[in-house]
Symmetry: C2
């Protein structure tokens, strides 16, 4: 998503050129290029698919809406498996129109996970609940903190359900470091994503994620927390930013790799040494 | 602020007409009308000043900036006392430019409160730390949860420092109800404010607070939490909303009183019975 202006082959070429060892993919561009074609493209390039984004939106109250959401999530699991990633990131969904019941919405997510967890496991895929910033609680994700995400995940086996730690969503939360430790102890850090916090936020607050190093978040501090929690998986940089999308995608990817080297991994290679990707 | 399009005398008239028993004032319109003139106006009308907004912005690192902030907060305390309110709401401040140190900023707030608390007490004024929504953590307030606000407040006597509970800022937080209970047990709920959460958020996310009943927040639920915590003080409706500001202020105030009756206090009078204002 950081460089959605690139076609799938351009993305793969740019990753190879910059020695970026893996890429997190989103379902829409994968569908546009074709799941099998994408899988072959990345496999032939030796590029890891770190995660697939995203499943979720599991808070509907009406039976048809719930059935459609479960169907869609099963397809997402299948796509993840086809792409060769073991992790499907979940954005769990906001409040249904007119509802004010956060607790009820969170319980419906748990109900859905009970169905989707075993299905994912049977495909070799883990679900990774992403705690989204509280500013998305109404319309996008009623899971607003890592504590809430873990409260949900821990009802299920860790190889079925874990969490996504994204700096953009949790950086303000002084309890997040101990929740990362809790997640690590349970083997539930299934994804780790970086974006920086820059202000002012744009209207709708979706596409204002800052380039690494441009904002208020100490990336090295958060990498330290997941390191200390035993996380050895990939680190994704996921920026939704109109300004970055308007630029040349290869330049943006090169800049992102350079920022990663400067702000996250100063003593490693440009995009992380061994252990930073699988 | 909900009806900032009204002049101070228009505001007082409109409150009397609607039997609104009290009003929370902001420093800028008070200064424009004059502190003494405002104090006389509301006193002669028999209208309570529920709180003064706002002090705060206590996170500067440079000595001049810190000294200026403390001076300004002492003036705010004096203004609150002159207006006859016992509560000064604090918006504590964001990160200084270029800083990524949330913890350090929070500690500087504590340092400032150690100076301002006794000064406020000597004027019969209590400081009320407002936990602001995490989307303001970088540029407005590094105190993002009631738990953090109470961690700060509890370093000082309750008659010096408490908290402001504002539904807009805390509604997403599943730990807020128990923090309200904690605040009530300590006699530290110094202000209670209502605004509804509506989406999409506007650019800059400052002026998108929804009219009561228009959004995702169950107002009665939150009133229940402060009631259960023993809170008997006033309930303020504080809406920053370009749409409301563009309308006739008296109409907006009447609508707000009606929404309050419908969504907050269905069995009381239009704007709350005895005990809802002091």
């Amino acid at each position: 998503m950081t460089v959605k202006q690139l076609s799938m082959p351009e993305l793969v070429d740019a990753c190879l050129e910059l020695a970026v060892p893996g890429v997190g993919l989103w379902r829409e561009p994968v569908a546009a290029y074709g799941v099998r074609a994408t899988a072959k493209l990345v496999r032939d390039a030796g590029l890891a698919v770190t995660t697939l984004c995203r499943g979720g939106f599991l808070t509907a109250t009406d039976p048809d809406g719930r059935a459609a959401a479960l169907d869609d999530n099963r397809r997402a699991v299948e796509e993840a498996a086809a792409l060769g990633t073991d992790t499907l990131v979940l954005v769990c969904g906001g409040l249904p129109a007119g509802s004010r019941d956060l607790r009820g919405a969170r319980e419906r997510i748990a109900d859905a996970l009970a169905e989707l967890g075993p299905y994912a496991e049977s495909h070799g895929v883990r679900l990774a609940i992403e705690a989204l910033h509280p500013m998305y609680a109404a319309d996008r994700c009623v899971v607003s903190t890592l504590a809430q995400a873990l409260d949900l995940a821990e009802r299920f086996p860790a190889h079925q359900v874990g969490v996504t730690v994204d700096t953009y969503h949790v950086w303000w939360d002084d309890s997040a470091p101990r929740q990362i430790a809790r997640a690590g102890a349970g083997g539930r850090i299934h994804a780790f994503q970086l974006a920086d916090w820059t202000t002012p936020l744009p209207a709708g607050v979706l596409d204002g994620r800052g380039q690494i190093g441009d904002g208020a978040i100490d990336m090295r501090e958060w990498k330290g927390y997941v390191d200390a929690a035993g996380y050895t998986g990939p680190i994704e940089v996921e920026l939704f930013n109109e300004g970055l999308w308007a630029r040349d995608g290869r330049q943006v990817l090169a800049e992102t790799a350079a920022r990663f080297a400067e702000h996250v991994n100063p003593h490693g290679s440009a995009v992380g040494g061994p252990g930073d990707a699988r």
